[in-house]
């Protein structure tokens, strides 16, 4: 009898799912994220409840038996939300647990390729937004950055700013998934977008935006103009929140 696993879409939920798979030696037919699955005559629907403790156990096992790198890569790949990533992760771990850290060097292995590529896409976007994210100063002296990333990267992006903007109050808002990461007293909190207060910009905000536009327009060399090149580095899909491209 094959089962469908349903989980809440969080990384903790996913690790709990992994726990079930390996404890019960039960590889699901389908893994369904978030929403309630339709009842199905052939498969049994099993809902996985996120469990921090089980998730931690899985984390420790991955780090101890495979490597830290495997864990990181898996996490980043997971954030891609690419179709099939959970199933690939199961086989990746299965082989990883068997062969240890050297498994990651089998560059031709189907799951290694899949997970690496997904992680790479996520890493690339994280790196991009370390540069392209734009904060706006709000009346409450909070820095607020809206963006629409392809992947679910608010958390790793926020981690980049944790030390950098340690003395400020700030938040990052994924407008596509409507979730936010808020920095408060040295901690990062994930909150649903609905819980954010109304956005009101500080008075100085306009001045800084126009100073930045002024700088942007003056730094380019006319005789070297190359808008195609510019677009290839800074695709149009990111322009919506770019102060210099509004």
């Amino acid at each position: 009898m094959m089962d469908n696993f349903i989980y809440d879409g969080s990384f903790t939920g996913f690790l709990t799912l992994i726990y079930q798979v390996f404890k019960k030696k039960n590889i699901p037919a389908q893994i369904i994220r978030g929403k309630e699955a339709q009842l199905n005559l052939i498969y049994n629907n099993i809902t996985i409840k996120s469990d921090e403790e089980k998730a931690d156990q899985v984390t420790e096992a991955i780090i101890a038996e495979i490597s830290h790198k495997a864990y990181r890569t898996l996490y980043r790949a997971f954030l891609s939300e690419i179709e099939g990533v959970e199933r690939a992760a199961i086989f990746y771990l299965q082989k990883g647990f068997k062969r240890g850290s050297s498994y990651l060097n089998s560059w031709a292995d189907e799951e290694v390729v899949f997970i690496n590529q997904a992680a790479k896409k996520v890493n690339r976007e994280v790196h991009r937004f370390k540069g392209l994210l734009r904060f706006r100063m709000l009346q409450e002296k909070i820095l607020y950055a809206p963006f629409k990333p392809d992947y679910n990267i608010s958390f790793p992006v926020a981690q980049h700013f944790k030390n950098r903007l340690a003395g400020e109050r700030w938040g990052i808002h994924d407008k596509k998934r409507n979730t936010a990461v808020i920095y408060q007293e040295d901690e990062l909190l994930i909150v649903p977008g609905e819980e954010l207060a109304e956005i009101k910009f500080a008075e100085e905000e306009e001045l800084y935006q126009s100073l930045w536009q002024e700088f942007f327009n003056n730094i380019s060399i006319e005789k070297r103009k190359n808008l195609k090149l510019q677009k290839s580095f800074m695709p149009q899909k990111y322009w919506e929140y770019l102060v210099e491209k509004k």
């Binding site: 031709a108 994210l133 950098r164 003395g167 930045w212 002024e214 770019l242």
Partner: protein
């Protein structure tokens, strides 16, 4: 004059300096604002496709010198402005908080005297580091002719210092920048290089040795304003890396800003030549090439049709094809289309078993160009005979016009694989 106007003038005046790298430093945020990412980050790309990482401005463009190639030369009629240290500091912080920039690149024309200007740069950095507790990236210019002591004070606050040589020979310098002496440029460069080495040695003995330009020092050479050939330029770069401990040499295609009998009349900057020089420079720094290998007596310039590594391989075809499963890391690096990343992966992957031709793309290797120069499990799979003219013909055709427009032109922050 309000700050917006000053910014417009002093950003416009700074744009010909090509360096914008923010990499190589690892300053931590200690109870203030900012830190620096060792790998460098681009925050935007200007309309000319160049990475914007730093707030790149001049402190002043009211310059008393009259260097022939420079927009800011005293005899050029253009708007002039000068910031105050506090204006620069507040701009930097305001931009940094909003994540527009990685930090500041502060250069300057020479107002009143070299030391007067250098002192203002020092004050600005002092303000940022000590008063505002700013730990983001700072690249400062050392003004030729200022006292070394002042340069060193700046070095203790900056992540990078640069002194621009601009012209690749003494003769050209005398001719086009008569007020600058070659010694005014070379002395501070040597001093900075020595300090960096001394600091490294001290650091092994004393843990609390203060940082001194942790991201190193760099310079810029203008290409095409003077008659020096590529051989001379690349050799100069190599000797700067070797003798002065330089981190980077930047090349800037010459663009006439004001007609001058001492300068060639170009209607377009020699961008392709600049691009090839950057590629040659990569070969020096990451591929273990020496300058001599890239030129011959009757070919003192790079072949602008081909990237220099490919060109070298075609001229040294007797060293190829090499066997992927046997070649050393160093040999792999010499294959066109294989960069440090692919070479590393090949070496790691073949420990797990012999690599077949079909495995290569799976480990992320691009075969398009490399296939002409390798064998895999003893087989040559390029589909053509291994003969110089045929390979050369094929490669040039395949590149078509594409390579000439390749985006790597300004992607200086990243290692391009190949």
């Amino acid at each position: 004059m309000d700050i917006e106007e000053k910014l417009a003038i002093l950003a416009d005046s700074a744009k010909y300096d090509v360096s914008c790298s923010s990499s190589g430093s690892n300053r931590k945020n200690k109870g203030g604002i900012g830190n620096s990412a060792p790998s460098g980050i681009c925050h935007s790309w200007s309309d000319d496709g160049r990475c914007i990482s730093l707030l790149k401005i001049l402190f002043t463009n009211e310059c008393i010198y009259d260097c022939a190639y420079c927009v800011n030369r005293a005899s050029n009629d253009r708007p002039r402005a000068t910031f105050t240290p506090d204006e620069v500091a507040r701009l930097t912080l305001g931009f940094y908080k909003r994540n527009y920039i990685e930090g500041l690149f502060l250069s300057s024309g020479i107002k009143n005297s070299p030391d007067y200007t250098m002192e203002l740069i020092y004050k600005t950095l002092y303000l940022l580091r000590e008063e505002y507790n700013f730990n983001g990236y700072i690249h400062a210019k050392a003004i030729p002719g200022s006292t070394l002591q002042l340069v060193n004070k700046v070095g203790l606050l900056a992540d990078r210092i640069s002194v621009n040589i601009e012209l690749p020979s003494r003769t050209s310098l005398d001719k086009l920048a008569p007020q600058k002496k070659a010694e005014d440029i070379l002395k501070p460069m040597k001093n900075i290089g020595d300090k960096i080495v001394a600091r490294k040695e001290n650091k092994q003995k004393f843990r609390n040795t203060p940082k001194y330009v942790p991201a190193g020092h760099s310079t810029q050479l203008i290409v095409g304003a003077t008659p020096e050939n590529d051989n001379k330029i690349v050799n100069l770069a190599a000797s700067l890396y070797n003798n002065f401990n330089l981190k980077r040499v930047y090349y800037s295609a010459f663009m006439p800003v004001k007609s001058d009998a001492r300068l060639p009349a170009l209607n377009k900057p020699p961008l392709l030549r600049e691009h090839r020089l950057y590629q040659a420079d990569w070969l020096l720094r990451f591929y273990d090439f020496s300058a001599q290998e890239l030129f011959t007596e009757d070919q003192p310039n790079l072949d602008y049709r081909l990237d220099p590594k490919l060109n070298w391989a075609l001229n040294n075809l007797h060293k190829f094809p090499i066997e992927i499963n046997k070649a050393s890391y160093e040999e792999l690096l010499r294959v066109p289309g294989i960069g440090p990343r692919s070479a590393g992966r090949i070496v790691a992957a073949r420990r797990e078993g012999s690599l077949s031709y079909l495995n290569l793309p799976k480990i992320g290797m691009v075969l398009k160009r490399a296939k002409y120069f390798i064998t895999c499990q003893g087989k040559y799979q390029a589909g053509i005979p291994f003969q110089e003219e045929i390979i050369e013909d094929r490669v040039i055709k395949e590149m078509g016009k594409k390579d000439l427009h390749q985006t790597s032109l300004f992607s200086l922050g990243e290692l391009d694989d190949g």
